[in-house]
Symmetry: C2
Amino acid sequence: MVIENIGKFFDPESIAIIGASRTPGKAGYEIVRNILDNGFKGKIFLVNPHAKEILGIKAYPSVKEIPCTVDLAVLTIPAEATTEALKDCAERKIEAVVIASGGYAEIGEAGMKLQTEILRIAEESGIRIIGPNTSGIISTPSKLTASLFPLGKIRRGSISYIAQTGNFATHTMKWIMTGEEFGISRVVGLGNKCDVDDADVLEFLGEDAETKAIIMYVEGFKDARKLIEVAKKVSKKKPIVALKAGRTASGMQSAFSHTASMASNDSLVDAAFKQAGIVRVHKYSELINAAKALAFQPVPKGNKVAVLAPSGAMAVIAADACESIGLKIARLSEETLLRIRNISTSWIAIRNPVDMWGAVQTSGVEASYRIGMEAALSDRNVDAIVLILVITREIRPRSLGFIDEISQRHKTKPVLVTITGDKQLYEKAKRVLGKRGIPVFPPIEDAFVALSILYRCGQNLRQDSAPFAALQS
Amino acid sequence: MVIENIGKFFDPESIAIIGASRTPGKAGYEIVRNILDNGFKGKIFLVNPHAKEILGIKAYPSVKEIPCTVDLAVLTIPAEATTEALKDCAERKIEAVVIASGGYAEIGEAGMKLQTEILRIAEESGIRIIGPNTSGIISTPSKLTASLFPLGKIRRGSISYIAQTGNFATHTMKWIMTGEEFGISRVVGLGNKCDVDDADVLEFLGEDAETKAIIMYVEGFKDARKLIEVAKKVSKKKPIVALKAGRTASGMQSAFSHTASMASNDSLVDAAFKQAGIVRVHKYSELINAAKALAFQPVPKGNKVAVLAPSGAMAVIAADACESIGLKIARLSEETLLRIRNISTSWIAIRNPVDMWGAVQTSGVEASYRIGMEAALSDRNVDAIVLILVITREIRPRSLGFIDEISQRHKTKPVLVTITGDKQLYEKAKRVLGKRGIPVFPPIEDAFVALSILYRCGQNLRQDSAPFAALQS
């Protein structure tokens, strides 16, 4: 029942924008623009007592005038007008409401009173509320982007994202849409969490066929115990990766100012996340890199990594990068080593991480990496592979198709790529490989950090769960 | 005397390429191409007994036939031909020789014997050798790029770079030249270090007017004691930042295979670097970010940081990022807070890190960040500032000139920028600000890591040393 109602937020058949506006830049305009830009499948109703038409769509003076059932209402009206609108929603039996506007608990006592009042109305009438004070939700399976910020088309994929605030959810989406190739399924910025909280959404996403893995940005817990209990179940089926901020004294003070999040003992957070199967990261970039790795690749069965490096120095750096974050440099079989030695020069010692320099000099980048990659992925001592490439002018991004091709033959072993050399060619290669489901990371260590996150996620998954790799982004 | 000879490598008035080639792709061709591309100021002599002319330049059958003095010779001939060529160099009183070719100590006993032999010749004749087994050197003040890899034009700047291997030096240069805006002064890939080692070059760079700061990639030490002694002196005048790889068990094994570097107890390395004033980093990207920060900004007097953040969540993340790496969130004065409160909305608590959301809503990005930046940099409690921006479609990179303008009025306080939102606009903003000497980092934590490196460098500098900011990139 709870989950069913949460589903209305993400897959409504009809949506009403209460406070739709004709003025570009205003929340009530941008949200309609976003919904149209993304080609929302269902019916759209706009409510504005002062307009007859907005962006070519008929506007109603009140939600009560809408002639059909409405699944989801998004309110972009001032805080003081909310209670009345919410009562109208109750009358129309709307069960899911996003309150986008601010002016509630985050502004102090008066706002808190208002927030308590809207929660009372919601509870009486069975309405579930997301917000207030959020920039709304995104749901690509329904082609829905109910966000206040201009976002353009959101690429569909399998990663879902629960963020403490709508603002944070939004600019992260913009960064991913413009800089990465992987896609997104459900996104929610929870705002003040007066009703729906992280645990509610997590429970829904755990059952959601459109969600393969979940990333989270958390400042504070509304009900830590509930979140941990839900996460314990979900993390056995799907990876959960979270950035929990407010871990230093200054961070906690800032979190309190921002979302009234209470300070939490950070080592307790660590312990609770571990128990819950939530993989914790400490950097914004790690959260995005984790999403990319999870979107494109399976989790490895173990932590034994093969590395092909373009130079001896990169091999050394790769070994350090692995072992300092809980991965192991795989002990390659004699057969694997022999296959690579056969294409290398005699004076380079072939061990893992593999210094490909000699092979590249002899056979070129593509041929040598092709043989090295096939040999390493066929080795039963290897759980995953990281390819380090230098791209200058000799190798063109389009010649990298072999990576995807060989990866397809070893579907249970993740393949991650990091590239140095020419930055512009790096960007091209990242796009080309990203479109084929191969994640590319900036040089050098980020690829290993992402792989360690995949590994930790895999450790939490239930052994008998359906293969995680089945639902590809 | 030693330093004088090292200077010949970086500022030769004439250079001979022994083993120059007409075949694109060959080392002996690419090196000539690089020298021409960079417009080397001095005389160029090519040596190849089988060619009369290469790339429009006369070729001599032997170095002995060259009619003028030669300051620097670069050998790209096979290992077995080196001893003869080196004797010729001795006869011509050439004092600086780069041996680019491999086939020496790194291939085993026979190569080691050859390396001992060339070192003997060098010592007898007073020749200093860089290499063997290196892709050579770069020196932008002399418009010289004696590298085996196609590199194109190297941008001049104030950062010098000592790398364990030429290969590593080269692809790092390519990455910086194509992805960053800061410039480079002297670069050396030391290769087998049969003669010239890190300490020799460091001593030279310490006195070099063209070098403001030094970055290093180290796998093993030839003479750790000497390096520490030299670094102790140099780090009082110029920042030294080093990535020392081979810090894990696997990393040490790889380093031994690669450059026969002996395992070193990593906590001893930490202690020695600390004593020597070398700031140690553990990631490749940190080394490049450190170089960018050092190229563009002064070191801060202390570790008290002001942060302007575009949202409350970013403020929380920024506070964590500061305090987890030895920086402090500055306590802003009442006057500073008041100046920012005056442009913000009443319901956002203004403290450091500053949540600029309210101010941006009221006054726009440029006006609010302008006031916030000026207020924070004028505050005597602030040693440095980090600006976090979200760029979507509202703000154009060109409108960011105010950052440079205000930074110019507060020259002793470093300004670092990190941007999220639209990745393409991020890249544009990074270029625009980079050209004005403002370093831009990917979101979010990298900017704080770079600032902490600046801070640690500053702690090593002698109080009475000339202002570090004097020589701008």
